[in-house]
C-alpha cells in the first residue's frame, strides 16, 4: 500500500486530467461560429415533438410496422445463430485448454485472439459497407455483417468462461485418463454452460439493435421503416416506428433477464 499522501496526490491529478479533457473537448465541439440549430430548425423541432400526438395508428401502417419488426427479429436471430456456431470452435481453441502441445497451443491461442480482437473492433455497419463493396447488395450482407463482429465478441467470452471454470473437477477428469480435449467436452463445457447461455441472451438485445440499423444498406426492418418515414417527413409515422422499436427492445430485454435469472439460481 502506498503511503497516504502519495495516494491523494494521484487521485487529484487524475481527476484534474479527466475533467479538463472533457471540458476542452466540449468547448472544441460546441464553441463555433455556426449556429447550432439550423435555419428553420426550431420549427422543425417543435413540429417533430408535437407529432407524438398525431401517432399514425392506422391499421395499414401498423401492419407495416409489425412486418418490419418481425424482419428485424429474423435478421438478428440469423446473424446471431451463425455467430454462435462459428464462435464455439474458435472459442474452444482460443481458450488454450484443449491442446496438449505447448508450442502449438500458444501459437493457436495468440493468432485466434488477434483475429477475434480485429473482428470485434470494427462496427457492424462498417463491415456491412465493406461487404457491400465486395458482394453487392444482398440480405446475406446484413447477416454476415452482424455475424463477423459478434463472432469476435462471443468467441472471446466463450474462451474466458471455459478458462475460468473451477479447476478441481477438470484435474480429476485428467487424472482419470481423459485427454485435454475430452476434459473440455465432459468438464469445461458443462461447467461453463449456464454462464455462456446467460451471456448469449444478454447479447441478443444488442443484436436486435444492430439489426435495426442495418437499414442503412437497404435491408428491410424497423430501422428502414423509420428512415423511410423520416425522408417523407411523416413525423407521426416516425414516432410510431420509434415506439415499436422501443417496445421490441424492452420485450427482448425483459425476456433475456428472465432467462438469465433462471440460469443463475
Amino acid at each position: 500500500m502506498k503511503n497516504v499522501n502519495h495516494f491523494f496526490e494521484h487521485k487529484k491529478i487524475l481527476t484534474l486530467i479527466l475533467v479538463s479533457a472533457f471540458l476542452w473537448s466540449s468547448i472544441r465541439i460546441f464553441y463555433t461560429d455556426q449556429t447550432l440549430i439550423s435555419y428553420d430548425g426550431i420549427s422543425t423541432l417543435f413540429n417533430f415533438l408535437w407529432s407524438v400526438f398525431y401517432l399514425d395508428v392506422t391499421p395499414e401502417f401498423l401492419v407495416i410496422c409489425l412486418k418490419a419488426v418481425v424482419q428485424t427479429i429474423l435478421y438478428a436471430f440469423g446473424g446471431l445463430s451463425l455467430a454462435i456456431i462459428i464462435a464455439i470452435p474458435i472459442g474452444i481453441l482460443s481458450s488454450g485448454t484443449c491442446i496438449y502441445n505447448k508450442y502449438v497451443n500458444n501459437t493457436v491461442v495468440t493468432t485466434l485472439r488477434f483475429v477475434l480482437a480485429c473482428t470485434r473492433s470494427i462496427h457492424e455497419l462498417i463491415w456491412a459497407l465493406l461487404l457491400v463493396s465486395i458482394i453487392g447488395l444482398s440480405p446475406m450482407v446484413a447477416v454476415l455483417a452482424l455475424t463477423i463482429p459478434y463472432v469476435g465478441i462471443l468467441g472471446r467470452i466463450f474462451a474466458e468462461q471455459l478458462r475460468d471454470v473451477p479447476q478441481q473437477p477438470i484435474r480429476l477428469l485428467l487424472s482419470n485418463g481423459a485427454s485435454y480435449t475430452k476434459a473440455v467436452m465432459y468438464g469445461r463445457i458443462p461447467l461453463a454452460m449456464p454462464n455462456i447461455i446467460s451471456y448469449i441472451f444478454y447479447r441478443l438485445e444488442c443484436g436486435i439493435r444492430s439489426a435495426a440499423i442495418m437499414s442503412f444498406i437497404g435491408i428491410q426492418g424497423i430501422g428502414y421503416q423509420i428512415h423511410l418515414s423520416l425522408l417523407d417527413l411523416r413525423f407521426g409515422q416516425v414516432w410510431t416506428g420509434l415506439i415499436c422499436l422501443t417496445i421490441l427492445v424492452v420485450v427482448v430485454d425483459a425476456w433475456s433477464s428472465i432467462v438469465r435469472k433462471a440460469l443463475t439460481s
Partner: protein, 244 residues
C-alpha cells in the same frame, strides 16, 4: 501381496523455495490398502496429485508398474494405471449420473465415441449393473447436482469401477460426510475397489476408520514421512503426536 506396484523414490516438490514435500520414499504392493494421515497442509494432497500424474515432482521419480508417471501424458496409459477420487469434486454437477460414470472410459474411448455418448449414452446396461451394486440405480438419469453427498461419492466410485485402474487414490473421500455415510463409503471402497491386483491409497484422519479398513499407515507431518507402520502397530499416541 505379489510384488511392488508403486515405487516412490526420493520425491520432493518445491514451489519456488517453499517445500510441499521433502524427500519422500516408499513402496506399495499389490492388494495393499494404504492410509496416509497428517495435518492439513503437510503435503498429502501434493503427494497424491503427483502419484496420479497431475503434477510432476521437482526431484525424484514415481513409477507405477515400472512406468515413470511423470513421463506419461493424459490418455489411455495413464487411465489404466491410476484413478483418483476426491472430497467433493469427483463429479461434474451439470452432467447426468450416467455420463459421470461413463467418464471413466474417457481414457480408452475415441473422441468421437466420447462425444456420441454425451448425446446418447453408450453401455447403459453395464452402468446400470454397477449402480445397482452400489444401491443408486434409480438415480441413473438424474443430474448429478441433485444427489446427496453420499450418493455423489458412490457415483465417483462407479466411475472408478468403469475405469478399472491399477492404482486407486482417494483424497479425503469421507471427510465431508457424517459418520454413518462415511462408514458406508469405506465399506464400499473395501468391497468394490480393493482386490489382490490393485493398490489403494486413502487419505484419512479418523483413527477408527484407519484401523478398521486399512492394512498400512503412513504419517506425514511438515512435508516429510514420520512413520510407516502396518495396521496392527497403530496406536492412539502416534496419531496424537502427528496432529499436535
Amino acid at each position: 501381496m505379489t510384488g511392488n506396484l508403486i515405487d516412490i523414490n526420493n520425491v520432493s516438490k518445491y514451489y519456488g523455495t517453499s517445500a510441499a514435500l521433502k524427500d519422500v520414499s516408499f513402496k506399495v504392493g499389490q492388494g495393499e490398502i494404504l492410509a496416509i494421515a497428517g495435518p492439513s497442509g503437510s503435503g498429502k494432497t501434493t503427494l497424491l496429485n503427483m502419484i496420479s500424474g497431475l503434477s510432476k515432482p521437482t526431484t525424484g521419480s514415481i513409477s507405477i508398474s515400472s512406468q515413470d508417471i511423470g513421463k506419461l501424458k493424459p490418455g489411455k496409459d495413464l487411465a489404466n494405471l491410476v484413478g483418483m477420487i476426491d472430497q467433493q469434486y469427483s463429479i461434474i454437477p451439470e452432467l447426468n449420473v450416467i455420463n459421470n460414470v461413463l467418464a471413466g472410459n474417457l481414457g480408452n474411448w475415441s473422441l468421437f465415441k466420447s462425444l456420441l455418448s454425451l448425446i446418447y449414452p453408450l453401455e447403459r446396461g453395464k452402468v446400470f449393473a454397477i449402480l445397482k451394486d452400489l444401491g443408486i440405480e434409480d438415480k441413473i438419469n438424474n443430474k448429478a447436482a441433485h444427489l446427496s453427498g453420499g450418493e455423489q461419492q458412490r457415483v465417483s466410485i462407479a466411475r472408478l469401477l468403469v475405469q478399472n485402474p491399477m492404482v486407486v487414490l482417494a483424497d479425503e473421500p469421507v471427510s465431508s460426510l457424517d459418520p454413518a455415510r462415511a462408514e458406508d463409503i469405506m465399506q464400499l471402497i473395501r468391497s468394490k475397489l480393493v482386490n489382490t491386483n490393485r493398490s489403494v491409497i486413502i487419505t484419512l484422519h479418523n483413527t477408527r476408520l484407519i484401523q478398521e479398513y486399512c492394512s498400512r499407515l503412513i504419517g506425514i507431518k511438515e512435508h516429510s514421512i514420520v512413520f510407516d507402520v502396518s495396521a496392527n502397530e497403530i496406536n492412539e499416541s502416534m496419531l496424537k503426536e502427528l496432529y499436535k
